[in-house]
């Protein structure tokens, strides 16, 4: 991902919200931008990495990325970090003190809420951080606004020496819209000034600065009142007036084009006078916000009557079709029934699956064969091990939690679980993000855990970003490569308890796990194979099923590979009198990349390499 020539100023580009934020960060003269990948925010830094003249990095976690940005700001440089909602939980320790030091060079944090949980373990409303940390929150409603508000955020940050939160949601990050772009500004850092009262947060210093935080918040309320980001649109149909922030504004305009709206782009602190002015011109006030009833509670506390979550859902995305019946309810009308043609058809679910040749398949196929184990899991593609056909993962909480949860189960279990073995699964990127501390805690506290460290040489779930163990930086250039086995040893795991295995070699994998779980000491099995979606993966010769040899046992289906398909099913009565259903299979050799995982459980040897002459040849390279 080498730097490319950015599109010239005044270009009108189709950009996602993430790309629009990246463009604005670059134009704002930012010198340092850091992030850990996380849906839906990943593409912000990915996109920024293609711009010249700034340092971009994959940090090992969100807390570190925020600290890097803060350090850059201390020198007077403009700095930026981006994260998904749960990333800000990790970074919050920094955030809650950074609000006291304040920013020197413009400092902006983009936080993306996965409203509707498209790829997250929970749903959170990051606007709370604005209240908790007393920081301003900006909420764009589309790509153009994401671009403009990010630039506004840098100016605001420098003028009031405050870090600024730009709150995005999935429907901002991943929606593409037209954006007119500009030039990059130059911002030479003014220089680091030694100032312990400001930068050394000991109690005495923090105590003197905290009143300034509250004062700043009051000042910003006034700024918000006058800000062009907060617009009162008087409308003509004044039965219901709307307060809307973020993408909710677009839904309101779509569904109720003639209604009065207070559009909050600068949503914390929100402007009380504009709010009262809206309330004065409409019969009822309805607050449209994703996801918590935050503005609603505050507006009511300010003595302004309003509605919100009494008629609207408290979780998930809003849309015009959610708003219309809610407003009907508010107006005492019976909501119009949905047209029968608009009812969804019943179709099987299609959950995400592991890819053909995914090394994780070998792991979960094996874990599914081992009885009497408790498997704690973590965040990544390998969370899919909880699904069919493996059902081989018992817990998933948050980044790195596998280690602590496993130790807790070990120490907390009573007689009923005494004979169970505990396996903690974690990916390489998650291990470096927040798993290393947990492993240290296991060794220090003498836990009896077998850790499966799945080293696929990338951050897989977010699309294959480099990590400190992949030997590449964000630009794909060579970087120091951390040796995971040495890290594990340094964290206190005995050398003889560290095993490196190939997850495609099922017998060895099975034997290694069986041996390690029997030993009463922490052990780490590093299962090493590259993710199939990264350049390091080289496909092998695909396989086919020799039809006459297939006995329909279905063993290969239990591997969970999406390239294996059932061609026919047949019910037979076994000599024991038991009826079983046979499933005869074939392999889609366009999808098969020849890992051989399915070959190993095939008893009749029906799975063979595709003859060389039949390997599909691509005539036109596109």
């Amino acid at each position: 991902m080498a730097a490319v020539m950015p599109a010239p100023a005044a270009s009108r580009l189709l950009l996602s919200g993430n790309e629009a934020v990246a463009r604005a960060v670059w134009e704002s003269g930012v010198r340092v931008a850091a992030a850990y990948p996380g849906t839906p925010a990943t593409e912000i830094i990915e996109s920024l990495a293609r711009y010249p003249d700034l340092h971009t990095e994959w940090s090992v976690n969100e807390k570190v990325s925020m600290e890097v940005a803060l350090g850059a700001s201390m020198t007077g440089a403009r700095a930026f970090c981006a994260m998904k909602h749960v990333g800000l939980n990790v970074a919050s320790d920094c955030l809650m003190t950074m609000t006291i030091t304040g920013a020197y060079g413009g400092l902006v944090i983009a936080v993306a809420d996965d409203v509707g949980l498209s790829s997250s373990q929970n749903e959170q409303d990051s606007r709370f951080w604005g209240r908790f940390a007393h920081l301003p929150v900006l909420e764009p409603a589309d790509s153009q606004e994401a671009y403009e508000m990010t630039q506004y955020a840098f100016a605001l940050s420098e003028q009031y020496e405050t870090p600024v939160l730009v709150r995005l949601t999935t429907r901002i990050c991943h929606v593409k819209g037209l954006v007119t772009v500009g030039e990059r500004e130059a911002h030479e850092p003014a220089g680091f000034i030694k100032n312990p009262e400001r930068w050394v947060m000991v109690p005495a210093h923090a105590r003197t600065r905290i009143p300034g935080v509250y004062l700043r918040e009051e000042t910003l309320r006034g700024v918000s009142e006058a800000s062009p980001l907060n617009v009162l649109e008087p409308g003509s149909d004044r039965r219901v007036g709307f307060v809307a922030s973020g993408p909710a504004y677009m839904h309101v305009k779509e569904a109720f084009p003639d209604a009065p709206v207070l559009k909050l782009g600068f949503s914390w602190p929100w402007p009380p006078e504009k709010m009262r002015a809206l309330a004065a011109i409409c019969d009822k006030l309805l607050v449209i916000e994703e996801t918590e009833l935050l503005l609603e509670t505050e507006i009511k506390a300010a003595g302004i009557a309003c509605h919100g979550k009494d008629v609207l859902p408290r979780m998930g995305e809003l849309s015009p079709q959610v708003l219309i019946p809610a407003v009907d309810r508010l107006l005492g009308k019976e909501p119009a029934p949905a047209a029968p043609a608009a009812a969804p058809m019943k179709v099987f679910p299609r959950p995400p699956t592991l890819c053909a040749s995914c090394p994780h398949m070998g792991i979960y196929y094996t874990l599914a064969q081992i009885k009497n184990i408790i498997v704690t899991g973590d965040i990544g593609c390998y969370t899919l091990g909880a699904g069919h056909p493996w059902n081989a993962l018992d817990t998933t909480i948050c980044m790195g939690a596998t280690m602590g949860v496993a130790l807790g189960i070990d120490k907390g279990r009573g007689a009923v679980d005494k004979n169970k073995r505990i396996v903690a699964v974690i990916g390489d990127s998650t291990f470096m993000h927040m798993g290393m501390q947990g492993l240290l805690n296991i060794t220090y506290n003498k836990g009896n855990i077998t850790v499966l460290l799945l080293d696929n040489n990338t951050t897989g779930m977010t699309g294959g970003q480099a990590t400190p163990a992949s030997g590449k930086d964000i630009h794909g250039k060579e970087a120091p490569r951390v040796d995971l086995a040495k890290v594990v040893e340094a964290l206190g795991v005995a050398n003889e308890r560290i095993k490196v295995v190939d997850p495609y070699e099922l017998p060895i994998l099975f034997k290694t796990i069986r041996e390690e779980i029997k030993i009463d000491a922490p052990s780490v099995i590093i299962a090493r194979r590259p993710c199939v979606l990264i350049d390091d993966f080289k496909p092998f010769r695909p396989y086919l099923v020799e039809e006459d040899k297939c006995t329909g046992c279905g063993n290969c289906i239990e591997v969970g590979c999406p390239a294996i398909h059932v061609t026919r099913r047949e019910k037979v009565i076994k000599p024991s009198g038991r009826e079983v259903e046979l499933a005869f299979v074939n392999i889609d050799n366009q999808a098969c990349t020849g890992c051989g995982l399915c070959v190993q459980p095939c008893a009749p040897d029906a799975i063979q390499h595709v003859p060389r002459r039949d390997i599909p040849i691509h005539i036109v390279k596109t």
């Binding site: 009108r12 593409k176 079709q321 043609a341 959950p351 995400p352 036109v620």
Partner: protein
């Protein structure tokens, strides 16, 4: 809703099929015609074989990026069961253009769920206007499976509120740097996609009296 000039196109399929790229090219064509455009999808876990939908809305001014059920003019389905899954997004006079691909997920192979016998037939029974064709075979006949996406774009080209050449120009532009052979192959794939649909609409597969939507 007062934005009657908005065209809603829903493209659906499975992670890895090229749904998002196809929609991106459709968006470029709409921009070239001077429309305001919004395009949205939820991508997160899509590349793991999950369901992918891409919403494309264009017109004078697009507000909400999400298409409401019952308002899609053209549904471009990369896979049969996925087209069926999203068919309630079509408005009553909407048109579904569906690739006959049958991509069966592991949960079906494991016997946990059934794949519909005839997804496009089911759509027709429900009163939908459907044209189905085998984009993969068409692409393979042209010598390259990856031309399937251009076949799909060819299929929709005559059912957009602008000339097919606008869309073709965007495809050509995208492949220009890959050389003349690739561009020519894509031109042929585009033409083949158009023909596949025209042939069937002419043959009365769907109600021949209804107008193609949108005008």
């Amino acid at each position: 809703m007062s934005h009657n000039d908005i065209t809603n196109i829903l493209v659906c399929g499975i992670g890895g099929q090229g749904v998002m790229t196809a929609t991106e090219i459709l968006a470029e064509a709409a921009i070239a015609e001077g429309h305001d455009v919004k395009k949205t999808e939820v991508a997160g876990m899509a590349q793991r074989g999950g369901v992918v939908t891409s919403h494309l809305r264009f017109g004078r001014k697009v507000l909400s990026p999400q298409i409401a059920p019952g308002t899609v003019q053209v549904l471009l389905g990369f896979e049969g069961a996925e087209a069926l899954r999203w068919s309630h997004y079509l408005r009553p006079d909407g048109l579904a253009l569906v690739n006959n691909a049958r991509l069966v997920p592991p949960v079906v192979e494991l016997g946990l769920f059934d794949y519909p016998e005839d997804p496009t037939g089911q759509m027709r029974t429900a009163g939908r206007r459907v044209v189905s064709f085998d984009a993969m075979s068409i692409a393979l006949e042209l010598g390259e499976v990856r031309l399937g996406n251009t076949v799909m774009l060819g299929a929709i080209a005559d059912y957009l509120p602008f000339a097919p050449d606008v869309l073709l120009a965007c495809i050509v532009n995208r492949f220009a740097r890959k050389g003349e052979n690739v561009v020519d192959a894509n031109r042929r794939a585009f033409a083949a996609g158009r023909e596949a649909v025209a042939k069937q609409l002419g043959a009365g597969v769907t109600d021949p009296t209804s107008e193609p939507a949108p005008a």
